[in-house]
């Protein structure tokens, strides 16, 4: 009988942790939408591949903390994005989306790049 309240508390704590975790987990799906809506693709490409207008973002994006710090404080060609126009949640979702993008094929395996 003694164990009942203890196990109940444990279950409650686990539920809280899982619940909070679920609410905070970034969504790659939402991130893909946010990536388009906020115009990231216009310089970095739809797959974050980069180009002369912006560096590659994926695969293997910067760690979230570094990524966020750059987006908030950039003083380069890319203007800084404040939270008022790009929320932390959207930014985390965008990062999650970038993390899902696959690695590029080995250029040696692409005949057109070895003409």
């Amino acid at each position: 009988m003694r164990f009942v309240p203890v196990s109940g508390l444990a279950a409650l704590a686990a539920g809280l942790v899982l619940g909070c975790g679920g609410a905070l987990a970034a969504s790659a799906e939402k991130g893909k939408t946010a990536f388009v809506q906020h115009g990231c693709w216009q310089c970095h490409g739809f797959q974050g591949q980069g180009g002369v207008t912006g560096p590659k973002l994926a695969p293997e994006p910067l760690p979230l903390e570094t990524f966020t710090a750059f987006v908030r404080t950039s003083n380069r060609t890319m203007p800084p994005y404040m939270e008022a126009i790009l929320s932390n949640e959207d930014l985390a979702d965008i990062h999650a989306y970038l993390e899902t993008l696959p690695k590029a094929p080995d250029p040696k395996s692409i005949p057109l790049l070895n003409q």
Binding site: V36, Q37, H38, G39, W41, Q42, C43, G45, F46, Q47, Q49, G50, G51, V52, T53, G54, K56, T77, M78, P79, P80, Y81, M82, A84, I85, A104, P105, D106, P107, I110, L112, L113, N114, Q115
Partner: protein, 309 residues
Amino acid sequence: MTSLRNQLDWCVKAQAILGVCLAFALGLFYVCGYRPSSHRLADLQMEIQHKRRQLNDNTSQVAVLPALIEAVKSAIPNDRKAAIEKRGEAAKKAFAEARERTKQAAALAWDASPISTARLVMETFAQIKGLDWSLVASSGNVSNWPNRLWPMEKHYHWLGASGGYGVGYGAPASVGAALANRDLGRFSVSIQSDGDLMYAPGVLWTAAKHKIPLLAVMHNNRGYHQEVMHVQRLSNFRNRVASLGGDMGPIGTSIENPDIEYHKLAESMGWWAKGPIKDPDQLGAVIKEAVAVVKSGQPALVNVWTQPR
């Protein structure tokens, strides 16, 4: 008369080349830290004057340059030759590494749709590489892939850009250059962006009317992306959202909804045209068809949906 003019032209060109060679040789000496003595420099100048006289006598112009190059090479002391060779090896290694990085960058989003600009450019090159090709314009911005990946070995392989970031330059410039190339038997190809073509589409009719063979492969990214970052920066300064999402894009820069069917536009003015191509695996075959049309003396356009840059 024509023959005399040709000879005069040759003479002027050869002297110009000679001047460039002299400047290069002297530049090479100084870059390598070699300071010729005034005596040695005088010898070299005499050698060049002698070659110039030969040119003016119109004798054996073709043979002059190799001889001059040999004269310059033999004037370099052995220790400097070794230094130049060492530096050359380092430059070759750096070039090979840079080339590898470029290919790795080109491989990113290789199978993406809309089609990556690297894929667009290399699918095009695969169909023209066996021809005496000339890239007459590369408007818009395809991340400089032709210059990074195509072997630019002849002066007409790349005719440059507007010089002033001019939107609207590509289409008319490419038709003009294709007209010049036509009589020289060269195959003209352009990477034609959508926004650029909207400035003077009437030039398509001119090309068809005068049977100017030109392959226009479109970099149709459905927007005027040149202005995007400026709009974005100003909006961000004011904490305003510039991009409205969907097909709106940042204010005033999107060319969507309705999408412009450039292949139909070109067809209506007498061009062979196909599109819009969105699947990268279909692109090569369509460009191949277009190349055959251009080789028959007609202009052809392939409308390709591409990544923004």
